[in-house]
């Protein structure tokens, strides 16, 4: 794995820190690489802006913050408005399609992938696991690490009583990603940002 800078952002309560943490855990603990995660949050416990910065690297990470993110996972319009413009040209943008309208992105060649993670989670019975759906989607779309590594990291991150639900959420997100990866990334500027969804 080369050095990869990732931002995961949304509103408090969506589990964005958990999403980044699972990815970091997969890279550093399961795959024995290096990961550094920093988080920023407002004073609000729920609903406020919430963001995590994650750096994955084959070598120890020095500078703790991302400067030119390769991947962004954005789960709220506020997060999109605040962060999307910072993605590097050619980067990969993952959005929660029901919560984020991708428009006016002033960066070239960004590959955009959208998933109705919250809806999928609700179909599984718990909206709470939308972040794990997103984690699965992230794994499939970015291919940054083995599917099993991420899946293991999910299991290691949740209480045993929720393991089954979270595995399902992860798989649902992953499969969704695989399926839609073949149909190509959403072209920036297309009118309907949910074009690749069902």
């Amino acid at each position: 794995m080369r050095l990869t800078e990732i931002r995961v952002a949304g509103f408090g309560g969506q589990g964005v820190i958990m999403c980044a943490s699972v990815i970091g855990r997969a890279a550093s603990i399961v795959e024995n690489g290096y990961a550094t995660m920093c988080q920023n949050f407002g004073p609000e416990a729920r609903g406020g802006a919430c963001s995590a910065q994650l750096i994955l690297s084959p070598e120890p990470v020095l500078y703790p913050y991302i400067t030119n993110p390769d991947v962004m996972v954005l789960m709220s319009q506020e997060a999109y408005g605040k962060f999307a413009k910072g993605i590097r040209p050619g980067g990969t943008l993952l959005v929660e399609q029901d919560l984020v309208r991708v428009e006016g992105l002033p960066v070239e060649n960004v590959k955009v992938f959208a998933i109705p993670a919250t809806r999928i989670a609700e179909d599984l019975g718990k909206r709470m696991v939308s972040n794990i759906v997103m984690t699965g989607f992230f794994g499939a779309v970015t291919g940054l690490m083995e599917r099993e590594s991420l899946r293991q990291a999910v299991e290691d991150s949740v209480p045993a009583s929720f393991a089954e639900l979270n595995r399902k959420a992860f798989d649902a997100g992953y499969e969704y990603g695989l399926k839609h990866l073949q149909s190509g990334a959403l072209e920036l500027g297309e009118e309907d940002p949910v074009a690749i969804s069902e």
Binding site: S21, S28, I29, A35, M37, C38, L62, Y63, Y65
Partner: protein
């Protein structure tokens, strides 16, 4: 001796610095913590409150930081290893008990997760601006030990080290984290208990007639310890006291006692101090930093090296006692030193003092709230190298 396996979570964890520091304290043998909630350090005691009843330890949330910082001292005299944790305003409130711990030679650990100040400042954002306060914030003359981790792994490792040093020298030891290190999550490897060296409390074996609570022993100049209930009928006071612990407010006893409190650290500074040096031999410029800033500075150093500059790095793992001997030896050999820290000039004063005018010393200050832009450090390196 080795760590008690009951408290040791052996394995690889993806953990933030606050949690890692808590695990370090537990591995070191801490079985008591008192705290008062304050950002960005609260996670340390939150974790301890969760872990304590499963490992035979006690946590109490006190009514303020004054209470937390002296409850731990009470617990130490009750016979356990104890620590407290705080940030910014809470650290200011704890100052009196730093002095009390120094004066009564009570081994204990304070963890300060530094945030932007003064006053309420930046509760959720980093600074390294309590570095002078930890050394000078309590009244009177004293020496303490302060360590600066730059990663969650070091939060674990150095918290153990802090407990070990506190027992060895009967002195409060400070883990001077910063918000970035405290809230940063990385891999933390916790070894098995038999691989963790733990300094036990040096309880006296002398009998009541020969034991003196403040009679120095060995080259550490540190007295042996005891606890309540052993029949020694100890007297512990913050007043100037003699070797028995009895108040004796004469200039002669003050001289003898305060001098020893200071020299037990100063005379052993070379043993206590840990610094990390990289490519210092033959360097024109040495970049001095600590905590999170050391990682940011490294990026600047790499940029400077790419330009062909001869740059070394020196990281303070021990900030106090200040590793004077190293700086005094280094200063004549280099063009200059660049001191980067998340404050507007604190440890740089020590660097300047020890450089004694034999090289340039440039400060790269920062008011806090985020880390340096590496470009700013690079500029200072270029300037000093010129």
């Amino acid at each position: 001796m080795h760590a008690d396996p009951v408290g040791v979570l052996t394995g690889a964890h993806f953990m933030d610095g606050d949690h890692a520091a808590c695990e370090g304290a537990i591995a070191a043998g801490a079985r008591f913590a008192a705290g008062y909630p304050i950002t960005p350090s609260t996670e340390v005691v939150e974790r301890f409150s969760n872990r304590a009843p499963r490992i035979g330890a006690t946590f109490i949330q006190m009514e303020d930081e004054l209470a937390a910082s002296i409850a731990i001292l009470g617990a130490v005299w009750g016979g356990v290893k104890a620590f407290t944790v705080t940030s910014g305003p809470g650290f200011s409130l704890m100052m009196e008990h730093i002095g009390y711990a120094v004066m009564t030679e009570t081994p204990c650990v304070f963890i300060d997760v530094q945030r932007g100040g003064p006053s309420t400042g930046l509760p959720t954002l980093p600074a390294q601006a309590d570095m002078m306060q930890v050394k000078w914030g309590s009244h009177g003359d004293y020496e303490i030990i302060a360590l600066c981790p730059n990663s969650p792994q070091e939060c674990f490792d150095l918290t153990i080290q802090a407990f070990n040093l506190s027992e060895k020298y009967r002195v409060p030891v400070f883990v001077m984290m910063d918000e970035v290190v405290g809230h940063m999550t990385e891999k933390v490897v916790i070894p098995s208990a038999d691989k963790i060296e733990v300094e036990p409390r040096h309880f006296t074996t002398k009998d009541k007639s020969s034991f003196q609570l403040y009679a120095p022993v060995g080259e550490e100049q540190t007295p042996e310890m005891t606890k309540v209930g052993e029949g020694y009928n100890v007297h512990v006071t913050g007043l100037t006291h003699d070797e028995r612990g009895y108040p004796n407010m004469t200039p002669a006893v003050q001289e003898r006692m305060v001098k020893r409190l200071v020299t037990k650290i100063r005379d052993n500074a070379e043993k206590i101090c840990i610094v990390e040096q990289n490519q210092v031999e033959g360097a024109d410029v040495v970049v001095v930093s600590y905590g999170i800033t050391s990682r940011v500075a490294q990026r600047a150093v790499e940029m400077a090296r790419a330009e062909g500059l001869k740059v070394g790095t020196l990281r303070l793992i021990t900030a106090w006692p200040f590793p004077e001997h190293i700086f005094r030896a280094l200063a004549p050999k280099v063009k200059g030193m660049v001191v980067a820290e998340l404050n507007l000039g604190q440890m740089v004063r020590e660097v300047s003092r020890c450089a004694e005018g034999k090289c340039r010393v440039a400060a790269v200050g920062h008011a806090g709230g985020t880390v340096h832009n590496p470009q700013d450090i690079l500029k200072a390196i270029q300037e000093v190298a010129r």
